[in-house]
Symmetry: C2
Subunit: 480 residues, 2 copies
């Protein structure tokens, strides 16, 4: 399979992406319209993402729980904006156990409503607050145009749902979790993201304020990679989530919700991959290093495999995720291509000469050819490999950041904006009116991605579209 | 909440169970018929179960993946026995995105069919075999009479699905995974189980042979706690899972499936709990030890909290899951009851006298009153606590095994069988006819639980029901 070439990114970025997801065996199409199968290699990547996020959730005081897959249709209708946003995308269960249900159940597209209902039962007093719960699971949104990992009818995610006594606490929680996502994206996925606030048009159905982390893919399109919402008292009022405060008065809670999904896998592929295939960040890669033993006869095999096994044990003991590719009947070159396509960050080769010299060859996935190749001693090999994985992780982040920064523009006028969003992002003053936002979308297909929290100018300016006074700058970009 | 007493097990075992699940905040009823909410304390217990099982699955060469929640109705119909077994329990999605679907989708009750379909795409050659995949997820079976953890419309589980080149390999896999379940149940959950083969009547819809681990609850009812099925070529033929063997001939695969669910939480509750509440096995307990500091004034508080914090850090560093209960405004006695109800295996108390003497008090959850109480030195406290947790784990298993063994009977005739299954299990020769099995069920409500793999007599005997020749003995018992 490594023989068949991928289309290059320049030829057709969308085909490159799809082919790569299938060939690297990350995911597959399923016989159910719009649903995907996440294959073991893709799921292990997701498990590593889960592990790193879950650790951060627990460090910030959250616990996990599980709420029902099904939600009574009437629950969604209790929050008017919420049902308006999700109604067109619902999958509906009408029959159970051979009988028609009295009330149809929707398969959860998100769980604010059913969790809100449970919180109203559990929360009585200020002593019960805050409630900080996260759920790992699957959700369903009936999508017409699907794309593996980026937009599928069923997808996998985590959704955090918290309830607080005060507005300030809930707003702090919203931004705390946005910071957790940012930290994860930058330091684990090596995906540089910009954190900011969504426009009124782009915000979550039912939120007071939505925040997001936005990443630039190699085709310069934006990918929303995680969102954190301040829900005010909207869901608390819809579901009567009330508590008795310290003065014995009844108050509504303030709630938040935040989610990150298997979309992140798409972000990783489109941020780091090249024309040879995936490039996975070492901190999340299912396999961090592949070891290819090279020999031509039984005598060579014996000595090479002895060193291979010793090094394998040493690296495994050091906690490095390693695979020995000892397949017979395929050439080393085939193996190299195969693992390059699968994005394993580092390759080690051990041949008869290495055995003699006490050395091994290392080849970095992120730097092709000679540039990425080095010959190192077998001594202290675990330290050498660990250090190289750290370097690869840093290099991936640096490269992606440079790519992004070189494609962010500060157009001098609306005409220039229309040009730059064809191959990059525009960072421009905006009056925050829906009319100007809609005009840009109509003229260019670019939407507002976020009003960044950091890096706003100190002075007011004028809207790039209409020229009115504008307090803040926003990113305009085409998006997935 | 600890003030309200539970009904005792003797008064009403079913009420004791339900009340305990709710009061200990393991789970709650949901507004969706038959579905439960697993609360954080219950979900953390499940996460610990998952961790211990997943480690064993990976050690035996399995990988995880994710298949769609929805299955086309026509898929279920491809395996005749399978659809017959599951049709009455299906939840059916008829509408998506506001439109009626061309073909209804069922919410997976189990995934043999959709996974079989994917395997037929992935498996081409003997080189692709075996395929050893597991999935963690939720499934839905529309149940009329539900009971938290034991029988709910939606539940959580893992389902392993493997494909092999030969019958022998697939049969070995079936028993290997039954052994994994047995090892987990005995050594992690301290639930003694009997592994055996299901009768034809009780086997999985679509299997050639079903195996099970069966546990005895404190009311002497049996709980099926995990199952592993040899599916022969039934699903391979229904879904054309074929491979080219080494002689270049096309053959059907042999497949297996095996699952263990959140039912295991019910098994743990009903095996170990007492009239004061839960008793959780230390290896799975979300909190292994609670530390209650005791003081009457600020001076005492200062010195007690200093020792408390030092010991907390020491135990945490040793990997012990520990919680300090420093709530103000509730008495130590209230705290003791509260944590006893929640089943924390060990309690440490530190008061001013302990500070003076360099000691602490330890109270075992499994041994009430003085018997379980000891005073130990603060020196080497991590080693002392670890050892005690090991002892508690062993004591729970020993007690449960003794309880079970004292309620297994070898009735001399059918009359005696009818009596003993009212408060225990009968281990008797059975001719393996459906008629005798049905007669026992009609007369006593007891079903065949399993034909145990180990401990069969060396000689043939006569069926306890009809007197015909019988090769093997079976367990008859009432069951959940």
């Amino acid at each position: 399979m490594a023989e068949e070439k991928l289309p290059t990114r320049a030829e057709n970025f969308a085909d490159w992406y799809n082919d790569l997801v299938l060939k690297a065996e990350l995911a597959d199409y399923s016989p159910v319209r719009g649903c995907m199968v996440v294959r073991p290699y893709g799921w292990t990547l997701w498990e590593n993402i889960q592990g790193q996020l879950d650790r951060r959730f627990k460090d910030t005081g959250h616990v996990n729980a599980a709420f029902p897959l099904f939600i009574p249709m009437s629950f969604l209708e209790k929050e008017k904006e919420h049902v308006k946003g999700f109604a067109p995308e619902l999958a509906v269960v009408t029959h159970g156990g051979g009988e028609k249900l009295e009330e149809p159940l929707v398969v959860r597209p998100t769980s604010e409503t059913i969790i809100g209902y449970m919180y109203s039962k559990w929360i009585k007093s200020w002593r019960d607050l805050p409630v900080l719960i996260n759920q790992w699971g699957n959700v369903v949104r009936w999508e017409l145009r699907t794309k593996l990992f980026l937009r599928t009818a069923e997808f996998y995610w985590q959704e955090g749902h918290t309830a607080h006594a005060t507005e300030q606490e809930a707003r702090e929680e919203t931004l705390r979790m946005l910071d957790v996502y940012t930290d994860f994206a930058v330091n684990e996925a090596a995906v540089p993201v910009i954190k900011g606030i969504k426009s009124e048009t782009e915000k979550f159905a039912g939120a007071v304020m939505s925040t997001t982390i936005e990443a630039m893919m190699q085709d310069t399109k934006a990918l929303q990679s995680g969102t954190s919402h301040f829900l005010g008292q909207n869901f608390a009022k819809a579901f009567e989530i009330q508590f008795t405060n310290q003065n014995n008065e009844l108050e509504f809670c303030y709630t938040t919700s935040w989610g990150l999904s298997t979309r992140m896998i798409g972000a990783i592929i489109m941020t780091h991959g090249d024309d040879q295939g995936l490039i996975l960040p070492p901190r999340l890669a299912p396999i961090q290093m592949v070891l290819v033993p090279i020999y031509k006869n039984d005598a060579e095999k014996a000595s090479v495999m002895e060193v291979t096994n010793r090094i394998w044990q040493e690296l495994k003991a050091a906690g490095i995720r390693i695979k020995v590719d000892d397949r017979e009947g395929v050439t080393p070159g085939f193996k190299y291509n195969d693992w390059e396509m699968r994005g394993v960050p580092l390759r080690m080769e051990i041949g008869p000469k290495d055995v003699e010299k006490g050395s091994v060859a290392l080849a970095r996935r992120d730097k092709p050819g000679r540039e990425g190749k080095s010959f190192v001693s077998q001594e202290n090999i675990a330290a050498t490999v660990s250090e190289m994985l750290v370097n690869i992780q840093a290099a991936l982040l640096e490269r992606a950041t440079a790519m992004r920064d070189s494609h962010i523009h500060d157009p001098k006028d609306y005409e220039e904006l229309k040009q730059v969003v064809q191959g990059g992002w525009a960072f421009s003053y905006w009056c925050e009116s829906k009319a100007c936002e809609a005009k840009v979308k109509e003229d260019t297909k670019a939407s507002t991605r976020c009003i960044p929290i950091d890096g706003q100018p100190e002075h007011v300016g004028t809207c790039i579209v209409c020229g009115a006074k504008a307090k803040r700058k926003v990113y305009f970009a085409k998006a997935y």
